[in-house]
Symmetry: C2
Subunit: 418 residues, 2 copies
Amino acid sequence: MAIRKEMIEVAVASRKASRQMANLSSGIKNKLLLQMATALEAAQKQLKVENEKDLSRARENKMAPAMVDRLVLTDERIGAMAAGLREVAALPDPVGEITGMRLRPNGIQVGRQRIPLGVIGIIYESRPNVTADAAGLCLKSGNAVILRGGSEALHSNRAIGTILQQVLQDMDLPQAALQVVTTSDRDAVKELLQRDQEIDLIIPRGGEGLIRFVAETSRIPVIKHDQGVCHTYVDAAADLQMAEQICINAKVQRPGVCNAMETLLIHRDIAAEFLPLVTKSMGAQGVELRGCREACKISSELLPAAEDDWSAEYLELILAVRIVDSYEQAREHIETYGSLHTEVIVTNDYRLSQQFLREINSSVVMVNASSRFSDGNQLGLGAEIGISTSKLHSFGPMGLEDLTTRKFVVLGDGQIRE
Amino acid sequence: MAIRKEMIEVAVASRKASRQMANLSSGIKNKLLLQMATALEAAQKQLKVENEKDLSRARENKMAPAMVDRLVLTDERIGAMAAGLREVAALPDPVGEITGMRLRPNGIQVGRQRIPLGVIGIIYESRPNVTADAAGLCLKSGNAVILRGGSEALHSNRAIGTILQQVLQDMDLPQAALQVVTTSDRDAVKELLQRDQEIDLIIPRGGEGLIRFVAETSRIPVIKHDQGVCHTYVDAAADLQMAEQICINAKVQRPGVCNAMETLLIHRDIAAEFLPLVTKSMGAQGVELRGCREACKISSELLPAAEDDWSAEYLELILAVRIVDSYEQAREHIETYGSLHTEVIVTNDYRLSQQFLREINSSVVMVNASSRFSDGNQLGLGAEIGISTSKLHSFGPMGLEDLTTRKFVVLGDGQIRE
């Protein structure tokens, strides 16, 4: 019950602070983010001392080295957090924009104005930089934010939170606009997820287990940043050299992220020519290929794929390969096994390119480009808070605008309804 | 378990049909809606026979006359359903629109294209016209729809569904694009709300109990159409005659709907003049006034308001009245007791009107107009599927566009990421 009381206090304070934050000018919000950047840089030593507490516990607990690496705060990483805050400060403020102001027949003017969502909760794991990155985006868009990181980064997250809160206080802004929940009580998240009276949106960032738990437990709307089973379909009318380069880039440039290619679909007519080409260059990059029966016939270097391979998000140097009879079969495959993240067609057939863009309803669809571009920065949103794979509110990379909503504004002159 | 299997079949068939519906041209979709309108009109007799079954059961069960009235299908009401479908057919199709196409520094072009949500579930009560109205909006926006009405309208809803499905079949479109769930098993809704793999959005329409049940049970995103505790704040700088007319209209023109005024806030400086004015004209319309202590001092005709009155959605001829010291106190009141639906200021103070529009973050905010305009048709959206009081995805009256989402489209020429 103590934890419930504590989380209610956190949520209520956040709701109260959100009212003040919603009405700050862009100038004040930008100043806030810039001063937060400076404060983080000034606190490098202190941050590293706190971070060391997390690291030594991680080593004691024999955490995997890759996980430990994510936890580490170096001067460079602290600098990157500060740079991130400055970048967000430089982005245009979505709040306040009025669009579509129209005169109705009775003389009232009706438009829609962009406003902050209110209170955003971020539930995340591992990387302490999320604390500063998510705070920057939420505050710039006029929201209050409640941050709950993993217990493995408790000291680091708390230290970052304290530094950022101090800046709020120095600027006479409500400290509750940014709260880091650092209690070790595991029920804290459960309690927060019940506070639908105060919290407007929950964004979970982390592994599948975390996302499922949050989605199933929350009474607050959740935007899932789920897996990316991204496909590249190389059509019969593709420029094969271009296709090869796009495929290599999509698979190996950074295999551990959600916009990396996981399945390659190849049209039958060019398979005999293209598959050996791509097998060779993928092999040179250390990629393990797992093919359908027909693909294995063409190239003996492929391992046979199992049913599970078609829906696998490998996040490593493994690629599933399937030969298809037609675009329609490729589409069917994507609809059956895809995760609505990002799909690419490589083709020089105009009509087919248009059909692909029209018919494939994943969050990002591309013609003749690497799936690695599926990212808020690359697509021109500026910094992103993540990539939504659910369709409500926001689909695909989410930028500042996605942390806002719109209200209707009506300007009348005494009109009443007949 | 039988009901689970049945609902899985409904959901899977809907998902499959949604793929075909998503790619229909506007021309085909409009033709579909127009033919559905004609089919409903042609089936008046049959519809009334089925409706009579619901009505006689309702009378047997001694349903309240107001509830029975909602159930009745007359020729006029069937005509109104047909007219509604024709109206939606005439609206612009939001699907396919590409906005913000921009060239990125590396030469890829990036834009956002509007696409259907996929499968929409509507859970509603009483009025059988919702079956046709909601179906029209969902189909026009390229979605498949699953409709689950109340058991009290089972025969009427089933008959409407059968007629509309026949039109789908006649046009060689998938019948599963529109499914009416008429099993009497009460677990049907519970099972549907678990189908987050197939259903993209649930919209509950009905009383508080239904909405709360759906929101708490659903694993699918829900857009709540909750209560409207709408405020009108009459400022010291208001034109009092205008204020009187707006208040009367907002309270009595149709008291039983969510955009009717429930609380009147009056600035202290004009209370002695305005309150007797409004008391007299409200009294003439049969409105019962419940006032704060100060209001009761000014006018002896007011009953004393209890704390509950400030958050009441009366939906009848009762009005809560409070005298406030300032705009700030009015704002505080709205933030404490409001339901984020619609708030109105009556004032001739320019600066204050702007401040009200900026600071009050309900779904619709108005200056000098009746809250009764808070409706999709009045605000220029065309027909509406409801009024959302939650901020995610859609806030305020929801039209066709709110039944869609946007994907990113990327046109490349072989670009890869450095």
